[in-house]
C-alpha cells in the first residue's frame, strides 16, 4: 500500500518538473501561446485543461478493458470532447468575461495533443489511481507553465499582474508582449533558460563522474 502510494506520488510529481508538458515535452503549444495574454486567462485555461484531462483520464482508465484497440483513438476523442463541452458550458455560466476572452480556445482543448497523448501513453495502460495521479501532475505542470508565460506577458505588456498595476504611471507598457510575436519570443526565451539550466546540470554531473580535472 505504501509502495503504491509512493508510485502514485512519483507519477504526480514527474509532470510538474522532470516531464513538464510544455517546457520539456513541448506539447500543447497552441493554447499555451494564444491565451497567455494575462495571468487570469492563463489560469482559467489551466483549470479547464485540468478538468478535461483528469476527467477523461479517469474514464479512459476505467474503460480501458472494454475499448477495442482499433477504434481507441476515436473513443478517446469522443470522451475528451464530452468533457470539453461540459467545461465550456460551465465556464460560460460561471465566468462569462473570461470565456469570451478565451473564445474558441476552450473548444480547442479537444485537439490539445497533451490530452490525447496522455490517454494513449498512460491512462489506457494503467489503473485508475495511477492514471489520476499522472493526469493531475501533467495538468498542474501545464497550468504552471501557462501561468509563468501569462504572468510574464502581463507584467511586461500591461505593467500589471491580475489587473493590479505594478509600476505606476510612468511605466510604458511593451505592447508587443501582448501581441503574437511577444508570445513566440517570450516562450522561446523561457525554453532557452530551461535548456541552459539542463546543460549546466549535465556538465556538473559529468564533472562529478570524471572527478577533479588535473591541470
Amino acid at each position: 500500500m505504501l509502495e503504491e502510494q509512493g508510485q502514485n506520488y512519483a507519477e504526480f510529481i514527474k509532470g510538474l518538473w522532470k516531464e513538464n508538458p510544455v517546457f520539456v515535452q513541448v506539447l500543447g503549444m497552441c493554447p499555451m501561446l494564444a491565451v497567455t495574454t494575462s495571468a487570469v486567462n492563463a489560469l482559467a485555461m489551466g483549470g479547464a485543461t485540468l478538468f478535461v484531462l483528469v476527467g477523461s483520464s479517469l474514464f479512459v482508465s476505467l474503460l480501458r478493458k472494454y475499448i477495442p484497440k482499433q477504434v481507441r483513438i476515436s473513443a478517446y476523442i469522443i470522451i475528451i470532447a464530452t468533457f470539453v463541452t461540459v467545461a465550456d458550458l460551465v465556464l460560460k455560466a460561471v465566468a462569462f468575461k473570461v470565456h469570451k476572452e478565451l473564445g474558441a480556445f476552450i473548444d480547442l482543448i479537444v485537439v490539445n495533443c497533451l490530452i490525447l497523448g496522455r490517454q494513449e501513453a498512460f491512462a489506457s495502460r494503467n489503473g485508475v489511481k495511477a492514471a489520476l495521479s499522472d493526469a493531475l501532475g501533467m495538468a498542474f505542470g501545464f497550468a504552471i507553465a501557462l501561468f509563468c508565460l501569462g504572468a510574464v506577458r502581463e507584467i511586461f505588456g500591461a505593467g500589471q499582474l491580475f489587473g493590479v498595476s505594478l509600476f505606476g504611471d510612468s511605466f510604458q507598457p511593451w505592447q508587443i508582449m501582448l501581441l503574437p510575436p511577444g508570445g513566440f519570443i517570450m516562450l522561446g526565451l523561457i525554453l532557452l533558460f530551461f535548456n541552459q539550466m539542463k546543460a549546466r546540470k549535465e556538465a556538473r554531473l559529468q564533472l562529478a563522474q570524471e572527478g577533479p580535472v588535473k591541470s
Binding site: V26, M29, C30, L33, A34, S74, I77, I78, A81, T82, V84, T85, D88, L89, G103, A104, D107, L108, V110, V111, N112, C113, L116, I176, L179, P180, P181, G182, G183, F184, I185, L187, G188, L189, L191, L192, N195, Q196, A199
Partner: protein
C-alpha cells in the same frame, strides 16, 4: 463594396493579416514538427488546404442542418464528422489516384487532429459564413498555413548550416524565429488600414 471584392479580401485577410499560424496560434504542432525540409512542408501544406476545404463544407452542412437544433453538440459533431469524412476521402483517393495519395496521403489522418482544422470550423461558424464564403476562408487559411510552414522550413534549412550555440538549438530557436516571422506578418495589418481608410 461588391460581393466579389469582399471574397477577395476575405482570402487576403485569412492568408496574411489573420494568418492562422503566425497571428492566431493555430496548427503550431505541425508548424514546429514538420518544418524541417521545404518539400515536406509544401506537401503537408497542400494536404492541409485540401482537408480545410472538406472541413468547410462539412461544417456548413452541420451548422445548417444539425447544430441549429442542438448547439451543445458543436465540438463533438465537428470532430467526429470531420475525422470520418477525411478518412473516407483518404480511402477514395487511395483507390482513385495512387499518385496523389503518395503525395498527400500519409499526412491526412494526422491533420484531422490539428487544431487549425477544428479552429477553422469554429471560427467560420462564429462569423456566420455561408458555403461560398466558408470555402474561400478555408482556402485562404490553408494557404496562409502553407506559406508560414514553407517560410519556416526555408529558414530552418538555412540555419542547419550555420553554427549556433548548442543551448539555443531546437525548439527555443524555432520559437524565436517564429516570433520574428510573426512580427513581419504583423506589417500586413497596415494593408487593410490603407485600403479601407
Amino acid at each position: 463594396m461588391s460581393g466579389e471584392n469582399s471574397l477577395i479580401w476575405l482570402f487576403v485577410s485569412a492568408l496574411l493579416v489573420n494568418n492562422f499560424t503566425l497571428a492566431q496560434f493555430l496548427g503550431l504542432c505541425p508548424f514546429f514538427g514538420v518544418s524541417g525540409r521545404v518539400t515536406t512542408a509544401l506537401r503537408l501544406g497542400l494536404a492541409t488546404i485540401f482537408v480545410m476545404v472538406i472541413t468547410a463544407v462539412c461544417s456548413w452542412v452541420l451548422n445548417t442542418y444539425v447544430l441549429h437544433y442542438a448547439p451543445y453538440l458543436k465540438v463533438i459533431s465537428y470532430i467526429v464528422v470531420i475525422a470520418s469524412t477525411v478518412q473516407f476521402v483518404e480511402m477514395s483517393i487511395k483507390k482513385l489516384s495512387p499518385a496523389l495519395f503518395r503525395a498527400l496521403g500519409i499526412f491526412l489522418p494526422l491533420i484531422t487532429t490539428n487544431c487549425a482544422i477544428l479552429g477553422l470550423a469554429l471560427f467560420s461558424a462564429g462569423k456566420g459564413y455561408g458555403l461560398l464564403e466558408g470555402v474561400v476562408y478555408a482556402i485562404g487559411a490553408g494557404a496562409g498555413f502553407t506559406l508560414a510552414l514553407v517560410l519556416m522550413a526555408g529558414i530552418r534549412q538555412e540555419t542547419d548550416l550555420n553554427s549556433v550555440p548548442a543551448v539555443i538549438k531546437g525548439t527555443a530557436m524555432n520559437l524565436i524565429i517564429a516570433g520574428v516571422l510573426s512580427l513581419a506578418f504583423m506589417g500586413f495589418a497596415g494593408l487593410f488600414a490603407k485600403v479601407f481608410a
